[in-house]
Symmetry: C2
Subunit: 193 residues, 2 copies
DNA sequence: GTCTATATTTTGATAGAC
DNA sequence: GTCTATCAAAATATAGAC
């Protein structure tokens, strides 16, 4: 139940570092964020931080994994997803602009082929689209959604809308209502003959 | 008709620099792209480049303006836009992954409040949503689209979908058909009772 | 585990010759 | 208009003491 004595301190510090890193990466993006600054905010030196995470990239990837875990199972991040979960996540995101910024910045940077996060996002989108497609197919069998719609198209569209709304919302929070507009899309999908 | 003699060379070099800069900013993002590299690819020294564009930011903003001009009027970029234009632009983007990457990277970086491009993208989204909303309203009066839909919501959704699809397409070109999926959304909007 | 000190690299920008 | 040379300021990462 309790962590073994000698490691308790190290684990706590790790968490402190990750919290500071999340905030910094979210606010500045990967490049502009500096390990020094993160260390300072976590209350230790740069070298001290690099004892826990030996490179900036390693730290960054750990932060990314944590962000993902927020929405679900911390173990495998393979919990069942659905449109309801997506909408719920977007509603939750309104209260976490830092996380949204992290996600938007990092997904954009991942399009570079040499990006350390490219494969992370590729598999994330595979997983997300797959889960949504399964949910759509389920609802098509139940008669909630027209069988004329391609489940893959719908899944991509839902993910795209969520992503795109995040971007507009970050730039102009007053002009975009993310959850509401995603629901408008969802209504269009369900009401379609 | 022809440029004045003494300036012809300078203008040509400027274009060469801008072309190299576009590619670099698109591939690496603003931070990772270095003026040195861009200069080298344009066939001159860093100092030589900075004679034409005295700061990195100035160079960058000029590249951004050019990208925008591709889709329309090079003068004011205030040509009338519409859903048809949006779909057409997306179809065109399939052949220009470099431009798409530039746009995705830069719009994401612009969410940082200190970003030199923040205001650029804010006004760009204002303009784009405004044009689309006007188009939607026009079509609602013509009976093509249900009057029950909020034109602002629809405009935001269309822009969001286009942006989000770009991201997925850059990561996995084989798994996403941008123009087709945008048309699916457009059909949903029009067919909705 | 954490520190100080430092090596190394890279960056944006400037000065001044040609 | 373009160059070489250089500055000053970051950054990541490492070495070694404690």
């Amino acid at each position: 139940m309790t962590e073994r004595g000698p490691y308790a301190k190290g684990v706590a510090k790790r968490e402190e570092i990750l919290a500071a890193a999340l905030e910094h990466f979210a606010r500045k993006g990967y490049d502009r964020a500096s390990v020094r600054e993160i260390a300072r905010e976590a209350g230790l030196s740069q070298a001290g931080l690099l004892h826990h995470f030996s490179t900036k990239e390693e730290l960054f990837l750990e932060v990314l994994r944590r962000r993902d875990d927020r929405d679900g199972d911390p173990e495998q991040h393979r919990h069942v997803h659905s449109v309801d979960h997506l909408i719920h996540a977007v509603e939750h995101n309104v209260d976490e602009p830092g996380l949204v910024r992290l996600f938007v910045s990092m997904s954009a940077e991942s399009v570079d082929e040499s990006s350390p996060t490219r494969s992370f996002f590729e598999s994330r989108y595979d997983w997300l689209r797959g889960e949504l497609r399964a949910d759509i197919e389920r609802r098509q069998k139940g008669g909630e959604i027209s069988p004329d719609l391609d489940p893959d198209d719908v899944a991509s569209l839902l993910v795209a809308a969520a992503d795109g709304l995040q971007l507009q919302w970050l730039l102009q929070p007053d002009k975009v209502d993310m959850p509401n507009q995603l629901k408008v899309l969802w209504d269009l999908i369900r009401k379609n003959a």
